[in-house]
Symmetry: C2
Subunit: 260 residues, 2 copies
Amino acid sequence: MHIDTRMEVASRIAREAGAILRDFFRTMESYELKGRANIVSEADKAAEDFLVQEIRRLFPQDGVIAEETEEQDWGQSGFVWVVDPLDGTTNFVHSHPHFAVSIGLLKDKEPIMGVVYAPVYDEMFCGVRDKGAYCNGVLMSVSKAALLRSSLIASGFPYAREEQILAPILERVQRILLNAHGFRRAGSAALDLCYVAAGRLDAYWEEDVRAWDMAAGLVLVEEAGGRCSSIEGGVCDIFQGKIVASNSKIHEELISVLFR
Amino acid sequence: MHIDTRMEVASRIAREAGAILRDFFRTMESYELKGRANIVSEADKAAEDFLVQEIRRLFPQDGVIAEETEEQDWGQSGFVWVVDPLDGTTNFVHSHPHFAVSIGLLKDKEPIMGVVYAPVYDEMFCGVRDKGAYCNGVLMSVSKAALLRSSLIASGFPYAREEQILAPILERVQRILLNAHGFRRAGSAALDLCYVAAGRLDAYWEEDVRAWDMAAGLVLVEEAGGRCSSIEGGVCDIFQGKIVASNSKIHEELISVLFR
């Protein structure tokens, strides 16, 4: 079974997991905050259980790395699924609609397919290496911005509450505010990457992000004509926790403003 | 003609102005950045011309204050419309769907009605003083968060590119990251206020915001059970450029963390 079969399965199960999340999301309003934290855990677990069961049932030789699963299973087929059932957990718990299911697929450890589904917006982003990336069936391409000063840049912040961790990140946000058109912080790494692919953002960087947050989005950005790299501009290893993703044209300028 | 008539008109014309924006927005993709700036101006002007013409035709005695209009017309009826045809311009120019039409109504200089319409999301937020606030017909209420540390807080940044203006604002962002559950920067003041009203954000503050950005949203927040104030906690004057809007429960704690 080749990649097209896996893509069909990925988009179907992303949509079904999204429906699971949406059902939990809509019950959220009637709960107090403490109850909400439990609903999020339940929603996260229900969506992940569904995704992992479907993947194991259909592709028993494939590996699975998922947010809630403690061990990484690399499988025997060379294919490894990298799954985040709920990216944007903080938004979800606050009834904020900006969250998504993210499903990436690695072949021989390289990301080759990505599916991200935002259930409240009903937007399905998907792409396969060398076959383009799509949003609800429409081919995506990255923005045409050639200069940082005309670019809209997004980032995420770590959950850390220590001033010494936050200060250098805010210093970089200030460099963006001084040098770019605008700064956005939306709360979902997977959707930030989709928005770069769709040309809604010109770039996104984050310095504390997990493989399941970016495995899918990385393929989408690259297939839409963009570039993903480490913060030094080298190859982006999704297991190293840092990423710079852009329309490619502003990539060098962005890295030089942020990190040099 | 009383307030209900004006509400019916406001929601109809907000929807129609939103359709104008959406048409321009969808042509955006085929343009380079330079052309995009022109489309935004055209879209902004077309939506504002439509709104102002409809208001003047139906309520010739009312005043109108609109973003693109240079003079403020306070009219003779005691009613003044405060109109932003396109809030979230930077998002719009970047093909980012997070933007809205905002229509507020003042009676004897007090905001008494607000309508905000997000055309891509097709979400209509509206409210009238003492009659509640609604999102697509469903009654809204602010979140139940009682502590800043469990709250999601949004803000906006000024367009200023000077370090001495940005530094104190980023210092406040750091206080939020240290003390709250999360920080969001979405790029539309009107929608940030709607999201506070809808309980998707627990609070929002901004220190460089215009009357037309907040006239509508202020009514929505208050009608959904929230509170709007100056940064000192006094009455919010929409012509003074600063606002703190919250679910009311975290209001004092937020002000004290941000400004004291």
